[in-house]
Structures are given as C-alpha cells and as structure tokens.
C-alpha cells in the first residue's frame, strides 16, 4: 500500500473511508503512514480513527449501516488502536479507557454483550471480552490482569441477574469497587434493578453503553 501521493488532508479522508468500509489492513497501514509523517498519536487518533468512527456511529444509529458492517469497522478501528495504544501510553496521553465485559455465571446469552463490546471497541476503548458464564473469580482475575476502568456485566435471565450483585459484592470485598465503573445490561435488566444491586449505570443498548462509558472517562479525567 502506497499513500505517498496523498496529501495529509486526503490521507485523513482515506482513513475515514477505509474505516467506514471496514478495511482493517488499510487502516493499519494508514495509521503507520500518518505516524511516519510526524503526526502525534493523538492527532492520528482524533483526525483519522475517531473522526471515521463518528460517521459510522451516526450511520448505524440512522439505520444506514448494518451490524456486520459496523463489526468490520470496529475491527478496523481495533487494528489502528493496537498500533496507537502503546504510543499513546508513552506520550502520557489521556487514555480512552479499558473495559472488561462478560456475561455472568449461569448465563450464555451473548449477542447483546458482543454488540456492546463491538461498539466500545469502535469508540476506541480497549475491550477484554470474557465471554459467557463468568463467575466472580473470573471477573476478579481479569481485573487484576488488565487493570480496567470499567466493568460491564450482561445477564438475560431473571435467574442469573442476581449474580451481578455477587460480583459487585466481591469487588467490594477486594477493595476494588471504588476505582471501577460498573455498568450492567441485558433485556430484562432495568434501571431500578441496576440501582438495587449497586451498579453505577444501566445501559439500555450498545449506543447508550458507549455514551455512559465516555461520560465516565471524561469525568474521571476532569477529577
């Protein structure tokens, strides 16, 4: 892939287009190209990746894009982020955030959770997806390994929803609760239930989950 004949302006546009089209290799190559041209990791993130994903987000919301297209775009975003993340860390730039997400013990519903993970990645978050059927120990272990900012739990069964409280209590016992933002979701989960189990937020859908996460990270940076 050769981008040398593109102006800087065109490179950003090309990057946004390729992101929209879910072209993983291209986006990775363009990310590298922009860095070689001397742009800071933060500039590459803002003008290329985030600008591109903003368009994807709007078109998904408006029903222009289909889920498989957003999935491809999120994967392309992830490819770009993998290159930028270590550089962003080096420069001490503000982190977008890390999230651990999983379906709780006894529950194997994961379509909604995976949509949330996909949209979060699309928004530049680093997402560790623990999959289905996770007990409190698995969450704790993953927290220790990945030092996330946000924990997301999904449950689709009224019989497994109470397990969210078990995990939240375990976080408390380990002294981890206060430094983590706990989001819960899943079709039968409600705002009231989220409050009752001591979560910080309830996310009605993937788009709301992203907004909540972004707002939390912004607040945390400001603090």
């Amino acid at each position: 892939m050769d981008f040398s004949d593109l102006s800087d302006e065109d490179l950003w546009l090309q990057m946004q287009d390729d992101l929209y089209d879910g072209m993983k290799e291209e986006v990775a190559a363009e990310t590298r190209e922009a860095l070689t041209r001397g742009f800071s990791p933060q500039e590459v993130l803002g003008q290329g990746l985030v600008a591109g994903m903003d368009i994807v987000g709007v078109d998904f919301r408006d029903g222009v894009l289909f889920v498989p297209e957003v999935l491809m775009a999120a994967n392309a975003m992830k490819a770009g982020m993998e290159i930028l993340r270590p550089l962003l860390a080096e420069t001490g730039a503000e982190r977008i955030g890390t999230m651990i997400i999983g379906t709780v013990k006894g529950d194997i519903h994961d379509i909604g959770k995976n949509l949330v993970a996909m949209m979060m990645e699309g928004a530049g978050f680093e997402v560790i997806n623990l999959g289905i059927n996770n007990d409190a120990d698995k969450f704790l272990e993953a927290i220790k390994t990945h030092q996330p900012d946000i924990i997301g739990m999904s449950a689709l069964l009224t019989t497994t929803m109470p397990y969210m409280k078990v995990v939240i209590d375990a976080l408390g016992e380990e002294g981890l609760r206060d430094t983590l933002y706990v989001m819960v979701g899943g079709a039968p989960v409600t705002e009231t239930f989220a409050k009752a189990v001591g979560a910080d937020a309830y996310g009605r859908d993937a788009a709301v989950a992203v907004e909540l996460a972004k707002a939390y990270m912004a607040k945390r940076r400001a603090a």
Binding site: L65, V67, I111, Y163
Partner: protein, 486 residues
C-alpha cells in the same frame, strides 16, 4: 376444551430431493463439525453408544444417529390432571400452549411491569378457561417476586392448583427437574408417569451447535424418568445461524437430531418432540425479529423434516415484536400462526400472549390470540362433505331468489354454523359508536377482567393437595440451607 386435529392437506414446501439435501447437509455438520455437549456424563454416554467424542465436541455418523432417532415414538399421550384434558402429541393432533418465559407482563390498565406469582396464576387461569388452549404450559410468566431458588416449586404448584390441563417441567437445573418429577409422581403416581409422561419440558439447544450444562442435566433427569421433552434449537438467523434459510434449517435439523439421539441413548423410547424455534434478527440493530417471512419458510421446512423422521413437531407461536396488542402484534402473530397450522405443528408453545420478542406476556394479547386460535380450530377441521353438509333439503325449500334464513337446515345449524369472534366487532358504525366506540384493546381488557372475576378452580383431591404442599414446604426448607449455586 376443544381438541384440534388437522384435516387439511399438509403444506410440504420442499420436494423429496429438497428434504434429502437438508438431511445430507445436517449429516455433514454432525460428521465434520460436531456438536458441543458441556457435560462429562452426557459425553460419556454418547461415547459409550458409539459417537466420536473429542474434547467437548461430539461427532455423529449417519447410521448411528438414525438408529437412535428411530427409537423415539412418533406419537405419545401426555397426562393431564383431568383425564379429559390428556393431550395426544404427534400425528394429526395439534396442541396449543401459552406463552413461555417472559419476565414482564403488560396490560392496558397497568402498563408494562415485572411479572409476579400473581400474574403467573392469572395466566394459568386464563389458559384453563380458554377452550382453545389445550395445555397449561410452563413458565407462563417469570414470577420475579419469588426467590430464584424456589420459584419452580411455586410455578408447578400453581399449574396443579389453578388448572387441570397438562403442564411442563422446570428446566432451570437438574435438581429442579428432579423436583418436577417428584411432584408429577405425587399427582399421577410414579408408575403411571413411566407409561405415559406427565411432564413435557423445554430443552433449548444453545445454538449454534452447543448443549449447555443445565439443559444436559435436565435431559438426563427427564429421560431417566421417561418424561417427554421438546428438543428445540433456538436460532435467530443472522446471529446464531447463517443468513440463509437452507443453512439455518440444516443446522437446526442437526442440533435437534443430536439431542434426540442422546435422549434415546439414555432411555430408549423416551417421548421427544422435534422443536424448531427459528426466527431472524434485524441486521441493522441486532434486535430479534419475529413474524418475518423467512422464518415462516423455515418453519414449514423444519416441520417437514420432523415428519421425515417420524417425530412429533413443535414450532411457531403468536410471535410479535410489538410492545402492545396493536396492529403490528395482530399482523405478525397471524403471519406466523397460519403457517404454524398449515405445517401441521403438533405442539405450539407461545400460541397466546406473546409480545415484545418474548420479553412480555400480554393479558389482552392472550385473549385476542385465543380468538384467532378459535378460528384456526374451525379452519383445521377441514370440510364436511356429508349429505347434511351438501344441504339438498335446503335447496329444495328455497325458490330461486329466496333466502335460507328460515329453512329447516338452517334451523338445525344456525347456532354453530359460523365462528363468531367475541372480541371483534360486527356492528354497524352507528351501533358501534352507541356502544361506546371501543376498540379491540378495550374489549379484550374487559374480557380479561370478566374471565378472571368469573374463574372457578377445578377440583383437586385433598390428599394430593396436602402431599404436594408438604413436599413443597420440605423442599423450600431444604433449599434454604443449601449453598446457593447460581
């Protein structure tokens, strides 16, 4: 209760060659890709009976699979507390059962809210009172006000107390399945339920290609007690299956047959139903969609596959994504119910009450769906070609240009000649307005209230009732001190 038998031509959508192609593709999936079974004992059983087990994945060859599938009965009778309500499952028989699994309820006056045990009992009562619902169902709503660990006991007790129709067992854990069997033994007798099942329980395949530990624990309990099961791959095409009907049906077929074979390995002759719960997702949002035309095609084909293997078939239901019993709910539900009947579906779960993709049991929706079920009863009965039906005497009585309102033939038949919907309005516009200008939602709401107010419980033997309550009390006490396993 009015039984429904299907006397119309069965709608076979595929040619013989088409059936063979679906079958062959399923065999390929089973042979080359296999199905995951998350239970050590289940895999041991499969291995001991000749399946090829590698890790969690089990591979089947055609001959082995068909040998065990062939052991399942093509028809069976499920016992009901009132023997007149026993249901035959298979052949030309159709059984309509209420909606299942919803954590919320909805009605005109109270809106959408979390379901309680009281709601559960109300739906059991409504199902009991409808002549067009043949079965009390299972989790008609999820009683979220009862503790999770003991809810199954309250649900079973409610089915037995408030209805005398057949009901379903719990599938939330192996222990809860065992409790269900124990309760059935109290009501029907341990020996009797081994001759004819008293429980029919819903085993979901966690598609794609995966049986989870809970479902396998329940399969083992129910098969050993010779209780019936519906083995249902639940596929939202696009997410849990491919976006094409042919591929999705081949997947469904492979998954259902694998589960059925396991049941037969555990206990040959265990009554099973080949289930198909197949719909689509909205690929623009990921949300489940019901009543889509593709899912109807898939329903017809899966019913045809079940007939091919000589197995009773479960499918369909009054599905809708709508939040209220509105136009969308009505159209979508009928879009599914007509193919459900024309496919000659033997067991129809969710035949009444379903709203919002299965998150909500609707009160008004329930009675409105029953109205459609009534019409389907008439339709499925087929055409009477007797001399009486050809009505020669009536023709002889009426001169050209005359009318039939007063003939002897009409006098013999007018009361039940045509299905009269109670909830649909046939008045003139003026009369309708004079009556208050109510829409179907209003009328259904009034009907729900009137039914619940006039409900009378069926008799229950005092000795049986006492033993049941003792059992439930004893289990609740035991569960209270058991370590809580989520």
């Amino acid at each position: 209760m009015q039984p429904i038998t299907y006397n119309l031509p069965v709608y076979d959508l595929l040619t013989v060659e088409g059936v063979a192609r679906v079958h062959n593709m399923s065999m390929r999936i089973l042979r080359e890709l296999g199905i995951d079974f998350y239970d050590d004992e289940a895999r041991d059983i499969l291995r001991a009976h000749g399946a090829d087990v590698r890790g969690d994945t089990v591979f089947f060859d055609e001959e082995l699979l068909l040998k065990y599938v062939g052991m399942a009965p093509s028809q069976f009778t499920q016992l009901a507390r009132n023997p007149q309500n026993n249901v035959n499952i298979g052949g030309n028989n159709m059984v309509f059962a209420p909606v299942y699994g919803c954590p919320f309820v909805q009605d005109r006056d109270g809106g959408r809210r979390e379901a309680t045990l009281r709601d559960f009992q109300n739906f059991v009562k409504l199902a009991y009172m409808s002549p067009y619902i043949h079965h009390s169902g299972g989790t008609v709503v999820e009683p979220t006000d009862e503790p999770v660990a003991t809810r199954h006991l309250d649900m079973l007790l409610s089915h037995i107390t408030y209805s005398d129709k057949a009901f379903m067992g719990s599938v939330t854990s192996g222990n809860n399945a065992a409790d269900s069997v124990a309760i059935a033994e109290i009501v029907f007798g341990a020996e009797r339920i081994r001759e004819h099942p008293a429980l029919l329980s819903l085993i979901n395949v966690s598609s794609p290609r995966r049986f989870d530990d809970r479902m396998l624990a329940c399969i083992k309990v129910y098969a050993r007690a010779r209780q019936a099961m519906i083995i249902t791959p639940f596929i939202l095409a696009g997410a849990m299956g491919p976006t094409s009907v042919a591929g999705t049906v081949a997947q469904l077929n492979a998954e259902a047959l694998a589960g059925i074979a396991l049941c037969q390995m555990i206990n040959p002759g265990t009554p099973v139903v080949y289930g198909s719960f197949l719909s689509t997702i909205d690929l623009q949002s990921g949300a489940p969609t019901f009543g889509t035309p593709e899912s109807q095609t898939a329903l017809y084909i899966s019913a045809q596959m079940a007939r091919h293997y000589n197995l009773p078939f479960r499918g369909g239901g009054a599905f809708s994504s709508s939040k209220q019993p509105d136009a969308q709910a009505g159209y979508e539900s009928v879009m599914v119910m007509i193919p459900t009947v024309m496919a000659r579906t033997n067991f129809v779960l969710h035949a009444a009450g379903w709203l919002e993709n299965g998150l909500v049991s609707g009160y008004e929706k329930f009675v409105l769906d029953c109205e459609i079920l009534g019409m389907l009863h008439t339709w499925a009965r087929g055409v009477d070609l007797s001399d009486e039906a050809f009505a020669m005497d009536a023709f002889a009585e009426v001169p050209p240009g005359g009318h039939f309102l007063g003939t002897a033939h009409t006098m013999r038949h007018f009361r039940d000649a045509f299905y009269r919907a109670e909830l649909f309005d046939y008045n003139s516009a003026e009369q309708w307005e004079l009556n208050g200008g109510h829409d179907t939602y209003d009328r259904a709401s009034a009907r729900v209230k009137q039914l619940l107010a006039s409900y009378e419980a069926p008799a229950l033997d005092a000795g049986v009732a006492q033993r049941l309550h003792e059992f439930v009390a004893q289990r609740k006490a035991a569960i209270a001190v058991e370590p809580r396993d989520f």
